[in-house]
Symmetry: C2
Subunit: 246 residues, 2 copies
């Protein structure tokens, strides 16, 4: 029986989603708990994709297979009782046998939270990116508009992912909202390259500070070279917000 | 030269304010940094009072003595550069030689944040207290009113502090505000007993849930016995908000 679960996690104390030796990862915590529930039998967990160290998730999706006949509400309860305080299962459902959390993704939404203020907010230091600079939200909105559509995003791809040949991706929606001192960047697309959202945010910040014009984004896309985009924005402001399936 | 500083800290990863062997405390971090600034010479830090493990501060006040002639803005900078990310100095000023951060306190304000919701907010688990119960804010407000004034608060004193004989304290203001699902309890007074605010909040929660009537607070005050008050509310919702001097 294949189970799908929507989970959220605080990425602060994880070395990312994906399992790796000698560090704490979300995947390992999930698999450890499932192994306990299955009385020692290993259960592989598949996610919609990985998230990096310090990146949070509000709606990560995973799937796993089980022989146990536990009602879905009990699954949620059992997992939440056994999982550490920084991972939470929001919903568990029974899906058809060919559902795949990664291969069946239709779109993903990420959000990035920026707080503008002279002082960084001590209590949100792991959850937002603080900047002392004034940001021109209108210029940033213009830039968002240029990002929408199908483009080769080579300029917005971190160097860890050189093996990926095709860097054409489609952003269906990109926009930025301002609520007093808080700026929320939301981006929805069919696929994202390594560090793509964080490099986009780093570039938007330069535009917001007036160091670049919004239309420079067009040139940056055209040159297909990482060095022309802005810095990679820090991990702690980024959230994998929602994963969409058919 | 005596310096006064207003500081804030995230209490999550501290075993409280006061220095103790083998655990991480706010006082030790402050004294370590001051010792470095004074080239190895120990500098004692005095605070307005201690805070317990997990309790936060938005406006704790400390004082220390120094021979160094550093301008006040440089003090702020130097301290913030060297302090860990969960302590921040908001303001440093030069005060008269007899100022004392603890003895000269006129009033203190504490706040306690409660969030009502079916699910606890994963990202605020260290910063608020989450309850799934509906709370009657009007009943809680009535109870706050009863607390105001000068009373013997023996019923609201944690057992760690039995050596304190006089348990008469004055609460100058106690009120609770609701903002959607968030309840903020604010209390201002000339002095507080050990765990007093958390026991008051625990009792207010019972009143908010309808398990007790607001007027029972009068009886609880009269009996002067800790067992008649509510549970001690968890540390993570509590903030030492502001300390007032002459």
């Amino acid at each position: 029986m294949r189970m799908k679960a929507v989970i959220r996690y605080d990425g602060t104390h994880f070395s990312g989603y994906q399992i790796q030796p000698n560090v704490r990862t979300v995947q390992e915590e999930l698999e450890k708990v499932l192994q306990k529930i299955h009385k020692g039998q290993f259960v592989r967990v598949h996610a919609s994709g990985r998230t990096d160290q310090g990146v949070h998730a509000m709606g990560q999706v995973i799937h796993f297979d089980t022989d146990l006949s536990i009602p879905t509400e009990k699954w949620e309860q059992a997992l939440n009782t056994m999982l550490p305080a920084d991972i939470e299962v929001l919903q568990v459902s029974n899906v058809y046998d060919h559902f795949h959390a990664r291969y069946d993704v239709k779109e993903k939404e990420y959000r990035y939270i920026i707080v503008q203020g002279k002082r960084r907010d001590l209590f949100r230091r792991h959850y937002v990116y603080c900047t002392p600079h004034q940001l021109d939200v209108k210029a940033m909105q213009e830039a968002c508009h240029i990002l929408e559509g199908t483009h080769d995003f080579s300029s917005f791809c971190g160097s860890n992912n050189n093996q990926q040949d095709d860097k054409v991706r489609t952003i269906t929606e990109a926009w930025i909202d301002r609520d007093e001192d808080e700026f929320i960047f939301r981006v929805r697309g069919t696929g994202f390259l390594y560090n793509m959202v964080r490099i986009i945010v780093g570039t938007l910040l330069e535009i917001g500070r007036g160091e670049r014009l919004p239309e420079e984004l067009e040139t940056i896309l055209q040159v297909k070279n990482r060095i022309y985009a802005g810095d990679t924005a820090p991990a702690q402001g980024l959230y994998l917000w929602e994963v969409f399936y058919e």
